[in-house]
């Protein structure tokens, strides 16, 4: 018997809402597989939290949206792998954050949780009526939020990895998941503190997607003088000169005039700049 069959049966029972347990044969399989047991527990918790009720059939647009989300999540999980070995710096504890740390470390459980959520979202949207009701929309919205939260937790966990390879994978994961505010702030903190230039360079690439935010431009400007690596400093300058505001550009040339840049970066800028660019 496949795990998917058991999951489908469990969803059926949860949807029925009459408190029935899995058939004995299935329950034995669940008991013998910690992964499956964890998945089932997670589903029960999720179902209870959302107080799921049978809902009507969704529209075709919702179906299409679900399959797009499923495809995106699967490709993200395939393309960005969390740390090879779970080597977090802090020991998990019995608090909620400790539970979350254990949940997302090691990766397979997080992967499973994400897939269960997407599976749940698909089940809801595939077993309902053609027109979405406000209730369906609310359920879908909640699930989307949960998936975003899980993505954020995975990204933050990866960015906190002790190895540069793990953190680089975290930056890549953040990029592919359109980092939210919390992830962006973590990226900016790492930009000023990470020991690896490779990680900092990757962060410059990632945050460049949100350069239209003035606050972000100011944070990047502040970061220029905190860099001890010429290659990272010039990458930041290149980004802001290319796509930054006029104010940002003026401030960069002010840094140059005030000798606040690394010597070889300043030399390079002095060679390539023209009066027109400085104005």
């Amino acid at each position: 018997m496949k795990h998917e069959d058991i999951i489908a049966k469990k969803i059926e029972l949860l949807q029925a809402g009459d408190g029935q347990n899995l058939p004995e044969e299935m329950q034995q399989l669940v008991d013998s597989s910690p992964e499956l047991a964890s998945e089932i527990s997670f589903m029960e918790a999720l179902w209870q939290a959302d107080n799921h009720q049978p809902v009507e059939q969704p529209s075709q647009q919702m179906d299409a949206r679900f399959y797009q989300m499923l495809s995106q999540t699967q490709s993200e999980l395939n393309s960005a792998k969390p740390p090879l070995e779970a080597t977090t710096k802090n020991k998990p504890d019995s608090t909620l954050s400790g539970w979350l740390t254990r949940l997302f470390n090691p990766q397979p459980l997080a992967t499973m949780a994400l897939l269960v959520m997407v599976f749940g979202l698909g089940y809801v949207t595939n077993n309902t009526s053609p027109e979405p009701t406000p209730h369906v929309s609310a359920v879908v919205s909640k699930l989307e939020q949960k998936i975003e939260t899980l993505n954020t937790m995975v990204a933050l966990n990866m960015l906190n990895d002790q190895s540069a390879s793990g953190r680089l994978a975290g930056v890549s994961y953040s990029m592919s998941n359109q980092a939210n505010g919390k992830v962006t702030q973590t990226l900016l903190q790492l930009l000023n503190s990470d020991s690896s230039s490779a990680v900092r360079l990757a962060i410059v690439d990632t945050v460049s997607q949100r350069l239209n935010e003035e606050k972000l431009q100011n944070q990047l400007l502040d970061s220029i003088t905190k860099q001890d690596s010429p290659i990272v400093q010039i990458a930041l300058i290149q980004l802001l000169l290319k796509d930054g505001s006029q104010t940002s550009k003026k401030q960069i040339y002010a840094l140059l005039e005030n000798n606040q840049l690394i010597d070889e970066v300043a030399d390079y800028l002095n060679v390539i700049k023209t009066p027109a660019q400085e104005a």
């Binding site: 390879s165 230039s197 290659i231 070889e264």
Partner: protein, 285 residues
């Protein structure tokens, strides 16, 4: 069930007498769980690091002491101390009537904890050359603050290397690798390219020379400010930065470098190559 933790710690004190031949000590470290992936973390101030993958299941460590780093300076100081004109140490205190005692002890810490082997020494005055054999599937984190070269051969786990002063050579690897040198070259030869995690090579002043297997699927992104790019791979490099030196509607775009990219066999996972001054060589085998 309570997890068993095995800790093996060695405090190695080596004699580094200036007049004596370099001395070598060897240690074999058993892993807590040989069936699982091992991790090796080396952090030294000076010397060299060499790591080689092999078929065994233990970590074989060989440490050789080098000569004092500031040999010339020490001898000069001794001479001047015994001379008539000067009798002060570098701190300005009188050394008249005192005899210099060379500090020949070297502290090196080797520890195994839950499959992670750490080798550390913070001593600046002695060169410590560490050579380690590890199981093929071992993760590496290597750092040499003021030393010479780091060499890695046939290791198939993830590899992190930082070497501000010396060169980095990694051959027969699979990645992912994040390697960064300050002054010298980074040379990497991949056996295969890990498709799951990105890799990155950075050389601030040195050259990057990377060789990829013909069949690997790699998104290569190259950025250099003062170096040239030489490619021998079967993929076309294109600029991924739109560069425009013309003014348009009060908006001016300028180019100060720019990145190039190529997709080898359609591309899959990223390999980022960054230099400030050095050239970049990309080969295939």
């Amino acid at each position: 069930m309570k997890k068993a933790t095995i800790i093996a710690t060695f405090f190695v004190f080596l004699s580094a007498n200036l007049l004596a031949e370099p001395r070598t000590i060897e240690r074999s470290i058993s892993l807590t769980d040989p069936a699982k992936v091992a991790e090796l973390d080396i952090s030294l101030m000076s010397g060299t690091i060499a790591v080689e993958g092999y078929k065994g299941k233990t970590i074989e460590i060989s440490v050789t002491t080098g000569s004092l780093k500031k040999l010339g300076k020490v001898k000069k100081a001794e001479t001047s101390t015994h001379g008539k004109s000067e009798s002060h140490s570098s701190s300005g205190r009188s050394t008249k009537g005192l005899k210099r005692i060379t500090n020949s002890a070297i502290q090196l810490y080797i520890e195994e904890r839950n499959n992670k082997v750490s080798i550390e020494s913070s001593q600046k005055s002695h060169k410590i050359n560490v050579s380690v054999k590890v199981p093929f599937n071992t993760n590496l984190e290597l750092e040499l603050h003021r030393g010479s070269d780091i060499n890695v051969t046939n290791v198939h786990g993830y590899i992190d290397i930082e070497n501000p002063r010396g060169a980095i050579v990694a051959t027969g690897i699979k990645g992912p690798i994040v390697a960064e040198s300050g002054r010298k070259d980074v040379t990497v030869v991949f056996d295969s390219f890990n498709p799951k995690n990105p890799s990155s090579l950075t050389a601030h002043r040195g050259v990057i020379d990377v060789t990829l297997p013909k069949k690997s699927k790699v998104n290569i992104e190259v950025k250099t400010y003062q170096g040239d790019i030489f490619s021998g791979i079967d993929a076309e490099f294109r600029s991924i930065d739109k560069v425009d030196n013309n003014k348009t509607e009060n908006r001016q775009r300028i180019s100060i470098g720019g990145a190039m990219a190529a997709k080898l066999n359609g591309g899959q996972q990223k390999l980022m190559l960054n230099t400030f001054r050095g050239d970049i060589y990309i080969r295939e085998k």
